[in-house]
């Protein structure tokens, strides 16, 4: 696919130049007619605005690929497990996968890779899978990208799903990118929205790019399967249906020994999450009242999937928490995606360290606390009630 410009028709009005999301169009110095550069993604935005029809998308002959694509049916979810534990994102993807599969009128399958993990199949059925493809093999005992990709690619080649979803976790992002090359498919990274165009049987994949500053909608028109990794926590799992079952298809594969060997696994981070560079920060101020109350904030941090704990100087000076956690003038300067200030009044020395956070949430019982001046969302209330309620709502 490529953008074709009919220079005879082009009047040099410049309408298209302004619409190009990627700045790929410009007007030639000599005659004002339009020119396209390598930033073009053939998205077609300009085609619709050209008043004289000078712009067209040259579509390659896709009939062969389309016929090939017809052979692919069904929606797959990679069932990520670590040390025999199914990861939450798998259940979330089954939830959304169910909706999409039903729209398309196809089966929803889960792909389970590992060693001695057969027992996990039941849970996958309970959470919405119609089928489970299982490869149980010693080479898959520990996750390493190569055998996992080899197994997944073999299944894809044999069973031809039209779409494949995996969690955008370190494992999912690590080996699915190999699969995409091996099976010659497109892969959309780290999606936060998924839908389907039922008529064209296209997966509509929406994802943030440019550090979350823009959102992009991506499709794979011709290649199958349409693959996506999906950010954890954006979809909700279905309520499990106890006793719900389905078909378990075990595939015996001849996998090579892993080329990467796992020497040692160290669970739990050695260090606490450092506020500098953290994506989520829950900060406590003097309002937290006592060192043991930081437990409430830790629970909230945990519910957010591992946030760092910050502190105002008042909390540090009171000896409730080490100065390692201090945010502000004398502490660290932070710029997380979400900053939750609990019982922090918001003095300028604190604000200089955190005011450029993407989203600031403040919880304070004083409606006139200056922190509300910089907060995107302020909750006036007692942190001892609001914080546990938040933790609960997040865990739901």
């Amino acid at each position: 696919m490529a953008l074709k410009i009919d220079l005879d028709l082009c009047t040099g009005c410049g309408a298209c130049v302004a619409t190009c999301p990627f700045g790929a169009l410009s007007q030639r110095a000599e005659d004002g007619k339009v020119d396209v550069n390598e930033a073009c993604t053939a998205c077609g935005a300009c085609v619709d605005v050209c008043p004289v029809g000078a712009l067209t998308l040259e579509v390659a002959d896709r009939s062969a690929m389309a016929a090939e694509a017809e052979q692919y049916r069904g929606l797959w979810v990679y069932a990520e497990q670590r040390a025999g534990q199914l990861q939450d994102v798998t259940l979330e993807l089954l939830g959304q996968g169910r909706t999409l599969a039903d729209k398309l009128g196809v089966e929803l399958s889960a792909v389970l890779l590992g060693h001695q993990v057969r027992g996990l199949g039941d849970k996958l059925f309970e959470y919405g899978a119609d089928k489970v493809y299982l490869v149980d093999h010693p080479a898959l005992e520990n996750y390493t990208a190569e055998p996992y990709a080899e197994a997944m690619s073999a299944l894809v080649r044999k069973y031809k799903p039209e779409a494949l979803l995996a969690g955008a976790t370190s494992i999912g992002r690590g080996f699915i990118a190999r699969v995409a090359i091996q099976v010659n498919a497109g892969l959309t990274a780290d999606c936060t929205e998924l839908d389907v165009d039922v008529e064209k049987r296209l997966l509509l994949q929406t994802r943030p790019a440019f550090g979350g500053n823009i959102m992009a909608c991506i499709v794979c028109p011709d290649h199958r399967p349409q693959m996506a990794t999906v950010r954890p926590k954006v979809f909700a799992p279905l309520a499990p249906v106890p006793g719900r079952t389905g078909e378990l298809i075990e595939e015996a594969l001849n996998l090579k020994d892993p080329v990467v060997r796992v020497l040692e696994t160290v669970n739990a981070m050695q260090n606490e999450v450092n506020v500098a560079g953290a994506e989520f920060i829950v900060t406590g101020g003097r309002g937290v009242g006592a060192p043991e109350n930081f437990k409430l904030l830790e629970d909230l941090a945990d519910a957010l999937g591992g946030a760092a704990i910050g502190a105002s100087r008042a909390a540090v000076d009171a000896g409730w928490i080490s100065s390692f956690h201090q945010v502000g003038q004398t502490g660290k300067t932070v710029r997380p995606k979400i900053y939750i200030a609990c019982g922090v009044s918001g003095q300028i020395q604190h604000l200089v360290g955190m005011s450029s956070s993407d989203t600031i949430i403040a919880i304070n019982k004083d409606p006139d606390a200056p922190i509300f001046g910089v907060a995107d969302i302020g909750i006036v209330g007692d942190l001892f009630q609001v914080v546990p309620a938040l933790t609960k709502a997040l865990r739901r």
Binding site: C40, C43, A180, T188, R207, A209, L263, I379, L394
Partner: protein, 262 residues
């Protein structure tokens, strides 16, 4: 040892915004920089070079002609050789086509023992190019690496995952994607900068790379970006009060979920 480091030129994304009226990327005045994670990959290579004398570090980028800037930066820091893969035929490549193109350029070089990538590019944000190139080159790839030791043709690598890390062993050659935690990138030296200034870098074209033209650029890319738009705007200072804590908490969580923040 021969180490290849792949680096990408990216806009400094903390500044990139969409014009709300035209829905186009505002690029004016946006500075171009070396992808920050690639700086860590380059630093890892340079530290290995210091530890293992005789090591050669080659830096490869695919991009428009102005991407030479980051190659010069790399030379300033101590890279031995650079490759600028630049051709309009590469335009519009997604990660599939990008990883193919990079692998053909690397294939033209002395066979590498190690190919390093950043964890991800801060514009495309996919983290897919490293593992993709590794497949084309027939190498294993360890993602999210924060430390490496090399002895007797074998690498020991620490790979981070969500709640811990693993120590892995692999025989060379292999590919790695490198985290920020790995090191603190050095700054360019004066002599390095002077040498870089004088450097004339001839681009490697698609033809020179020997790539199959059918696997290049937009046409060969399975994915299509069909639309871009601004994320839902910030609420801009809402304050809730006088309601039950549970109600406000639930509303907040709903809002965060709606905005895909959690």
């Amino acid at each position: 040892m021969h180490i290849v480091v792949c680096v990408k030129q990216v806009p400094n994304t903390t500044q990139v915004r969409i014009n709300p009226e035209t829905n186009t990327l505002i690029r004016d005045g946006v500075e171009s920089i070396m992808n920050p994670f690639d700086e860590n990959a380059l630093e890892m290579a340079l530290q290995l070079k210091e530890k293992h004398p005789g090591t050669k570090v080659t830096v490869v980028t695919m991009g428009p002609p102005q991407a030479v800037d980051i190659l010069k930066e790399a030379v300033g820091r101590g890279a031995d050789a650079v490759v600028l893969l630049s051709d309009r035929a590469f335009a519009g490549s997604d990660t599939w086509a990008t990883s193919y193109a990079l692998s053909t350029a690397i294939g033209k070089l002395e066979k590498p023992d190690l190919v390093l990538f950043g964890k991800q590019a801060i514009d495309g944000d996919t983290a897919q190019v490293g593992p993709g190139v590794a497949v084309w080159l027939g190498m294993p790839c360890i993602t999210y690496a924060r430390a490496i030791e090399i002895a007797d043709g074998e690498a020991t690598v620490e790979r981070l995952y969500e709640d811990g890390y693993e120590k892995l062993a692999v025989s060379l050659p292999c590919a790695l994607t490198v985290l920020k935690e790995a090191n603190v990138p050095r700054m360019a030296s004066l002599r390095g900068k002077m040498a870089a200034k004088k450097l004339v870098i001839e681009p490697m074209t698609a033809e020179m790379s020997g790539a199959d033209p059918a696997k290049l650029g937009l046409n060969a890319s399975p994915t299509r970006v069909v639309k871009i738009f601004s994320p839902p705007p910030k609420a801009g200072g809402v304050k809730w009060q006088g309601e039950e804590p549970e109600v406000m908490a639930q509303r907040l969580v709903d809002l965060l979920r709606e905005r895909k923040l959690v």
